[in-house]
């Protein structure tokens, strides 16, 4: 594999990444840092060793309006601006609607949807002050087509897709772009948990891998590559779009095993 060339295209930019300590979030924080950005990892989980010294950390509960306000006050005071906001915080609940309790339903919506709403709501004024900004939300290919037993998760991702377009419409004239990336199967702890309930995990993983036209799972770096592009000026005309990044998985009709 070719060594990644960093161009510093986010030099001097200030970027907040919610869920920045999770599987994909870490890769985004690390890439933004390599590209010259000042990065704030905003997460309810603590900062992993891999990011220590590279990014600032802010303990952030995305479901709390106060936490969103405090986060943006912190960013304003410490950096004076916000250029990039990545709403990567999210959880998954592996249940059908009958199995899902009302509390679980409200919790996943609070994190995946309300979290995106609140952090953006208080991030936009800082971007406006700056005259430009790029918001990158986390949708999912599950926002378009369903995986079995993930009902509430699928619904939250569909909501994020619609919210992404709505925000893009409202803030485009202020040069604030809003996009969503829609990952497929990415090798993260969330995916491990998804496989965790199955019996023969290794053969399952192989089967799932082989259904992908690219014959592999995505990596957090694959996601960070696209987020990085959307964050920068190369993407200056990209807004309101849902960027599917799934190794070709959803380009197919269901694959009968012929």
């Amino acid at each position: 594999m070719v060594e990644k060339q960093f161009t510093g295209h986010l030099k001097g930019r200030v970027a907040v990444v919610t869920g920045g300590c999770g599987g994909i979030g870490q890769a985004i924080c690390s890439r933004f840092h390599s590209e010259g950005a000042h990065v704030i990892a905003a997460d309810i989980a603590s900062l992993p060793a891999s990011l220590k010294g590279l990014v600032r950390y802010f303990k952030h509960d995305v479901t709390s309006e106060q936490s969103a306000q405090d986060l943006m006050t912190f960013v304003g005071q410490e950096f004076g601006q916000l250029d990039v906001l990545v709403n990567a915080a999210g959880i998954e609940i592996e249940k059908t609607i009958e199995e899902t309790t009302l509390d679980e339903w409200q919790r996943i919506f609070a994190i995946n949807v309300t979290g995106t709403f609140l952090t953006s709501k208080y991030g936009v004024p800082l971007m406006r002050k700056n005259g430009a900004g790029s918001i990158i939300n986390f949708g999912s290919y599950d926002g378009f087509i369903a995986d079995p037993g993930l009902a509430a998760y699928c619904a939250t991702k569909g909501a994020v897709h619609a919210l992404t377009k709505a925000m893009a419409c409202d803030y485009g004239k202020e040069n604030i772009r809003v996009n969503a990336i829609c990952p497929g199967y990415v090798a993260t702890p969330m995916l491990e948990s998804f496989f965790g309930d199955s019996g023969d995990i290794e053969s399952l993983k192989q089967e799932v891998r082989d259904i992908h036209p690219l014959r592999r799972y995505g990596t957090p770096d694959d996601m960070a590559n696209l987020v990085n592009w959307l964050a920068g000026d190369e993407a200056r005309y990209a807004s309101g779009a849902l960027w599917v990044l799934d190794g070709g998985l959803s380009a197919q009709v269901q694959q009968m095993r012929l």
Partner: protein
């Protein structure tokens, strides 16, 4: 009788989905003309008109138009059902394959709509046979997939250019049990296991049957759908609502 007094042409009505649409339209009171490349099927009911036509040939389609004009004077419903499938990747596809497949699936509907639309009655309905494969790819069906995407695109154009004279919609069937589906299963390593697997991928719990598609064709032909145009209607038992991955099956 939702179609009484209507004159309908259904291309490719010899077998499968086409035959089911012909049968249903007749039940609903329509006068039905159908066509195919071969002779009139021996078992075809006498009240159905058969006009031997290769829709890929514009000259033959012009003759079909003249036949309908002189026998009925106009046309209310056009169902572009005729189509073929070739199970090949693009690398294996020959020029002859292209001629045959694109001739039937793409040039065929171009020929019939171009020729017949001017004689259609005000408020007529054109129904094209698209496919779920025109939206997402089925492996090893490269030209077929592409030809169905052509059908979807032309459906929108006809709806936009020729409303309100006609409405134009497409149906996107999933796996319908016809000779075409049988040939796909025939190449499976283990036909029984393949069918079992395929079945499990349908939330409705069964494969489609031709009458499932005929039901939608009837609705699109009828006045019930009078505000509907330029759209694709997926009738697939839920197949494409689910991810291509279905870990529950493994």
């Amino acid at each position: 009788m939702q179609l009484s007094g209507k004159v309908a042409l259904v291309t490719g009505g010899r077998q499968g989905i086409g035959a089911a649409i012909v049968e249903r339209f007749v039940q609903e009171g329509a006068t039905v003309i159908t066509c195919g490349r071969g002779e009139r099927p021996a078992d075809m009911a006498v009240n159905i008109d058969w006009v031997q036509t290769d829709v890929s040939c514009s000259k033959q389609v012009a003759e079909l138009k003249n036949w309908i004009l002189s026998n009925y004077g106009s046309l209310d419903i056009l169902v572009n059902n005729a189509g073929v499938q070739i199970e090949k990747t693009i690398v294996d596809t020959t020029d002859d394959d292209w001629e045959m497949l694109m001739g039937a699936n793409a040039r065929g509907i171009f020929n019939t709509i171009r020729s017949l639309l001017p004689m259609m009655s005000m408020g007529g309905s054109i129904i094209n046979m698209g496919s779920v494969s025109g939206v997402n790819a089925d492996p090893g069906l490269a030209l077929y997939n592409a030809s169905k995407a052509f059908v979807h695109g032309l459906t929108r154009s006809v709806a936009v250019d020729h409303g309100p004279k006609v409405r134009c919609n497409a149906i996107c069937p999933g796996w319908i049990m016809t000779a075409m589906a049988d040939s796909a299963f025939a190449v499976a390593k283990d036909e029984v296991a393949a069918k079992k697997d395929a079945l499990a991928r349908h939330p409705i719990g069964r494969f489609g049957v031709p009458s499932d598609i005929a039901n939608m064709a009837l609705w699109l032909a009828s006045e019930e759908s009078r505000f509907v145009t330029g759209q694709m209607f997926t009738v697939d038992g839920g197949l494409t609502a689910a991810s291509p991955l279905n870990p529950g099956l493994f």
